[in-house]
């Protein structure tokens, strides 16, 4: 799925990374606990979260993610957007709730794929 389609499905605003909307992503995870993202994400390229601080972006950077979707109508501070922009990460903002956003993307073909194992990479 292209990031452009994620934005369309979630009726999301593109806050940065407009030039990367054609990127293909294959899986996503929805989470507000960044340590869980660090523990259980493997190749998920999209992070769906309602948390709005710079550590969300740094977590995404650590896991080589390509897109962050802020849900529940959250507006991330400019410093968060700037950090993501500098890392080449697309930032989307949607009014959808986490559950709805994840469900919408899942039924449209964006997989989950989180793994629970001894070593997450």
């Amino acid at each position: 799925m292209q990031i452009r389609e994620i934005a369309k499905l979630l009726n999301a605003k593109v806050l940065c990374g407009e030039e990367h909307l054609d990127r293909e992503v294959k899986s996503a995870c929805g989470c507000d606990m960044m340590s869980d993202v660090l523990a259980f994400v493997k190749d998920q390229a999209v992070l769906i979260t309602g948390l709005c601080n710079p550590q969300v972006v740094r977590t995404a950077m650590m896991m080589d993610m390509r897109c962050i979707v802020f849900v529940r109508g959250k507006n991330p501070p400019q410093e968060v957007i700037d950090l993501a922009c500098s890392a080449g990460i697309v930032v989307l903002a949607s009014d959808e709730r986490m559950y709805t956003a994840c469900g919408t993307l899942y039924v449209n073909g964006l997989a989950g794929g989180a793994e629970v194992h001894d070593r997450a990479c």
């Binding site: 507000d32 606990m33 960044m34 340590s35 869980d36 660090l38 523990a39 979260t49 948390l51 601080n53 710079p54 550590q55 969300v56 740094r58 977590t59 950077m61 650590m62 896991m63 080589d64 410093e79 001894d118 070593r119 997450a120 990479c121």
Partner: protein, 140 residues
């Protein structure tokens, strides 16, 4: 690479916003040095969790990353309160972090287990009231 390279960082304990900057820097350095994405991710995530821990619990500290041809060593040192029960602290889900830290996305009791998960070897030396040193190795 034939020579040993060291990167040293002072971790600011006053600023949660900047926590993780050293890990981002290391990730960039390792990428420039040509390490594989898997090795880069393991080192940077382990260090990132350590950085976050030092900011949450210990008012900062230092991080040293030593890069050899066959391994990468990460040493994180702080002069925080120390860990009274290391075995308990290593259990997933156990946390002494205050509630406000949870609202920032951490403090779920996954930090130390994640550091162990992503490294090949991890040692914790800690004295209550004196501080903690965590040494981790990732074999290349």
């Amino acid at each position: 690479m034939t020579e040993h390279v060291n990167f040293h960082f002072e971790i600011d304990g006053e600023n949660f916003t900047s926590a993780g900057e050293a890990s981002v820097r290391i990730k960039k350095n390792l990428r420039e040095m040509g390490f594989s994405p898997e090795i880069i991710r393991r080192v940077s995530v382990a260090m990132y969790e350590g950085e976050i821990n030092m900011v949450i619990h210990a008012n900062g500290g230092t991080a040293d990353v030593d890069i050899y041809c066959d391994r990468i060593e990460i040493v994180l040192s702080d002069r925080g309160p120390g860990i009274s029960n290391i075995e308990l602290a290593m259990q997933e889900g156990y946390s002494t972090a205050p509630e406000n830290v949870r609202s920032l996305g951490f403090g779920a009791g996954m930090g130390l287990p994640n550091m162990k998960r992503y490294t090949d070897d991890m040692k914790i030396e800690s004295k209550v009231g004196e501080g903690t040193t965590i040494s981790m190795t990732v074999w290349v």
